[in-house]
């Protein structure tokens, strides 16, 4: 049996599945890169940011990391580019542009 989500994929056999399709680890969704979904991308303009942090709780994808009371750049692995943070920022510190891939 594979017990770690990183080892569980669409190629493993029924014998390797966790019993009762349970998962024994926290936050295994982090393995999924929903950043691929983005069409538009937020651009963090640190110079304009006043660190009010209003953008952070509005992010549905937990993709604005906070460290020592300050927001960092986006977690682009998981940010889906919804643009909510762009709208809620009172200081125009986030741009929203077409993503070049």
């Amino acid at each position: 049996m594979k017990t770690k989500a990183k080892d569980i994929n669409e190629k493993i056999t029924w014998q390797e599945l966790t019993t009762g399709v349970e998962i024994y680890e926290p936050a295994t969704s982090l393995l999924v890169e929903t950043g691929d979904w983005r069409v538009d991308v937020p651009v963090f303009k640190e110079d304009k940011c006043k660190q009010c942090l209003l953008c952070v709780p509005f992010c549905p994808d937990s993709s604005i990391p906070v460290k020592d009371g300050k927001r960092l750049d986006f977690d682009f692995k998981h940010c889906k580019g919804c643009g909510i943070c762009v709208e809620v920022c009172p200081f125009d510190a986030i741009d929203f542009v077409k993503e070049e891939k």
């Binding site: 989500a5 569980i8 966790t18 399709v21 998962i23 680890e25 926290p26 936050a27 295994t28 969704s29 982090l30 393995l31 999924v32 890169e33 929903t34 979904w37 983005r38 942090l53 209003l54 952070v56 709780p57 509005f58 992010c59 549905p60 994808d61 937990s62 993709s63 906070v66 009371g69 977690d75 692995k77 998981h78 940010c79 889906k80 580019g81 919804c82 643009g83 909510i84 762009v86 709208e87 809620v88 929203f96």
Partner: protein
């Protein structure tokens, strides 16, 4: 202790990215906001009714939760949580579980106002120490925007379409918070995503840390179902509150308290006009719909004010 967003955001995250909710989904914001109210030293078990949140946050083998999580079915999230809580009580008594756990259930309006209402009522009546959180997006979004008893009147949903003869949903929205309050639970409240999340945070904290069955009704807009511009969720929530379509209040041990009173109540059309689901109300000759919607909101608001006096 006064609310401090910066402090709250230093707590470890309890909903991970990588879940598969739509971009800009209100449910994800609601869950993050509620779980942030947990004290970091407390563990939690999260129960979830079938719905958007469930099918998106635990797709095998990927759970978006840092805490233990259980989903069983659509109608029974509150009953499932009751079982978990009952197990906790007995295992704690027997010394088999040492840590403190909190029990939080999430359900959409379909799983809460409708199919899950019986099990929710049962759990509230029995008095389990749990919080039931409804993320109310006013329709069955998971199955494709069908009307629920939470869908407001006139809304164009896929089973209450705005047609040539019938202009959208015919019935008004059920007042679930009031129904739950009638169970004489120690704490029930309505909230949404406003400003720096003080309102949501404080209510979630009270709900989690008040002993007994507590209920939180969170208006959680759905860009797809409501047809507004996805980035505008904060504005939609603000308008819901400023027009008194979604009043913020709480019922603490039977005492009704208004959390916020708009200085100047905005006309309901400010809220409606931003959303495609109400677009037909703004067509020529349909003014009466807006009038009636306004009349309804006014009446509900007055009733609420009377209760909160």
């Amino acid at each position: 202790m006064a609310y401090n967003l910066k402090k709250e955001l230093e707590k470890p995250e309890r909903l991970a990215g990588g879940h598969r909710l739509c971009a800009g989904c209100g449910a994800g914001i609601a869950v993050r906001g509620v779980l942030r109210a947990l004290e970091p030293e407390d563990k939690a078990v999260i129960t979830n009714a079938t719905g958007c949140l469930e099918v998106s946050t635990f797709i095998y083998p990927h759970t978006a939760y840092y805490d233990s999580y259980i989903h069983t079915a659509f109608a029974n999230a509150a009953a499932t949580c009751s079982g978990v809580e009952a197990a906790y009580n007995v295992l704690k008594k027997k010394g088999k579980v040492k840590e403190d756990f909190k029990f939080i259930t999430f359900g959409g309006d379909g799983g809460t106002y409708d199919i899950g209402l019986q099990s929710l009522s049962g759990a509230m009546e029995r008095g389990h120490d749990m919080v039931y959180v409804c993320y109310d997006n006013e329709a069955y979004m998971n199955t494709g925007i069908q009307r629920s008893s939470s869908t407001p009147r006139f809304a164009d949903a896929t089973t209450s379409p705005a047609g040539k003869v019938i202009p959208g949903k015919q019935q008004n929205k059920k007042n679930l918070t009031e129904i739950i309050a009638a169970h004489n639970v120690p704490y029930a409240a309505q909230t949404t995503f406003i400003g720096n999340f003080k309102d949501l945070h404080e209510k979630a904290h009270k709900a989690i840390y008040t002993h007994g069955p507590c209920f939180l009704n969170v208006l959680a807009p759905c860009p797809r179902g409501w047809r507004y511009e996805t980035p505008e969720i904060a504005e939609i929530c603000r308008l819901a509150v400023e027009t008194c379509v979604w009043p913020l209040y709480e019922i603490v041990e039977g005492v009704w308290k208004l959390s916020y009173e708009p200085k100047k109540k905005l006309p309901v059309e400010e809220f409606l006009k931003k959303q495609g689901r109400f677009a037909h109300m703004f067509k020529k000759g349909n003014d009466w719909m807006i009038d009636e919607a306004q009349e309804y909101v006014d009446k509900q608001w007055d009733k609420l004010l009377a209760k909160c006096e």
